[in-house]
Symmetry: C2
DNA sequence: CTTTTCTGTATACGTTATACACAGAACTAG
DNA sequence: CTAGTTCTGTGTATAACGTATACAGAAAAG
């Protein structure tokens, strides 16, 4: 794990992007980054992110914990690689003839699906901008959807980011509500029931609007969250649509 | 930390809401939940969330680590209380005569401000629905802004949630970009420069849209993120506005 | 008083991430 | 072919962590 070469990329990224300078001197590596990350993902899928330790991952691939440090700089780096691997490749949007809106909707739902497959991924404590291969591939696909819209590149990036953050947030919410398939039930019983019991704690004087919401019975629905992502996505797409319309009208106004 | 009483609330919440059943038997508690949480917040503000350990917090209030467990069930609970305390009270929205949109905008910006004051808060690994006092107070304020809009309670809650998640995501992004004031610089230098170096790794064939974005120079702006939150907020508010309009027209259409 | 019940302490355990030094493998130079 | 170099994975060690358990003393109830 040397720290820099001419590419200007941090060492951790060079490996992930497959730009590793061949040492060609010492013994052949018995491992690969992919095998390590794959093992870590497998553990996280099976036992949760909290069970991913350097020792466990190392054991899974049949080496000592310290051997992993020949491939990753530290655990955070491994986590970032796990998230990237868990994300997988983006969908092939925009499809021919697909509107930007349909393309981005598909893109967002696909991200949601990926996260649901790896429920630990949206909760992984990763910092920094998305720079790993799959993340970048997703970004590119998102940007492509917005190609014909007349938005500035800046705005396109912001829009992509907006949707991506939205999806991550909602999948986390969904998992919090116990709709996950991993069976690891929360220690406090049904979270929705717990939340409903707030009604017995709050007073109308302090929290009038929430009291009204409880009284309306809106929260008695079994799982109102499965289309919560749909709600957020539609709202954000409406907002982007409004922006596109505004930019278009401004441009045509300026041209005349 | 008994586990339940008649209120139906988890034990951890009863304490936070101040509904503690007075034991009135043993020695007077020398501590309070507030003092503990306050100390933990102070440590997180000063040294980051990673430096918040039970030992450190205990030392800060002058007791042993194990003493804290008379007040909180475990560390995760303490973290949740920290986030709630760091959030603080919501703004007094909606102000008289304020539109729902202006109210929610103020609400969202205020949340952003709170998170910027405690940069660790949006990254705290908290799970579950927002049920702590300040979180609930914020929810109520958000709902109040939407009072006259004709939205269902379900939709109001979704909209609030949407904005809240948005703000959290963007503050995290902002912190990732190093615009934080905590001085803890990332180990890899300027993150924006690192990101720009992606341009040397990606090929136009693989990532055409991203290549174009890089070529446009849109990423050369010093800090394009300070109004990134503004962008997202406006988009989401536009989306909510569109929903309100749609619901209103449907209602009037049905009535005629 | 005695008994009960609660507080904070002391101690201990199992895990964790990771620093450091080293044995052996695979190559290069002579 | 030998000697030197460089890289791999191992062994061992350390400091810190969350928290279980058992206990000493304080305060109130009977």
């Amino acid at each position: 794990m040397t720290n820099d070469d001419g590419s200007g990329l941090p060492a951790s990224l060079r490996a992930a992007w497959g730009l590793q300078d061949r040492p060609a001197k010492g013994p052949k590596p018995g491992l690969s980054l992919d095998r390590i990350v794959g093992a870590a993902v497998r553990i996280a899928d099976a036992e949760g992110l909290g069970s991913v330790s350097m020792s466990k991952v190392a054991a899974e691939v049949g080496v000592t914990a310290m051997a992993l440090y020949r491939y990753v700089g530290n655990k955070d780096e491994l986590l970032a690689l796990m998230v990237d691997a868990g994300l997988g490749p983006p969908p092939d949007v925009p499809r021919p003839g697909q509107t930007w809106r349909a393309g981005l909707a598909e893109w967002g739902w696909a991200e949601g699906t990926a996260y649901r497959r790896h429920p630990w991924a949206p909760r992984a404590p990763i910092a920094g901008l998305p720079m790993l291969p799959q993340q970048v591939a997703w970004m590119d696909r998102g940007l492509r959807c917005l190609a014909g819209t007349g938005l500035s590149e800046q705005h396109k990036l912001s829009a992509i980011l907006l949707i991506s953050n939205l999806v991550r947030s909602y999948v986390m919410l969904e998992l919090d509500l116990g709709l996950a398939t991993d069976g690891t039930a929360g220690s406090e019983g049904d979270p929705m029931a717990s939340f409903a019991s707030l009604a017995r704690v709050i007073t109308p004087a302090q929290f009038p609007a929430l009291t009204a919401a409880f009284a309306s019975g809106a929260l008695d629905n079994a799982d109102p969250v499965d289309d919560e992502l749909g709600f957020g996505l539609e709202r954000v797409l409406d907002g982007i649509e409004a922006l596109i319309a505004r930019v278009a009208s401004e441009a045509s106004g300026a041209n005349e």
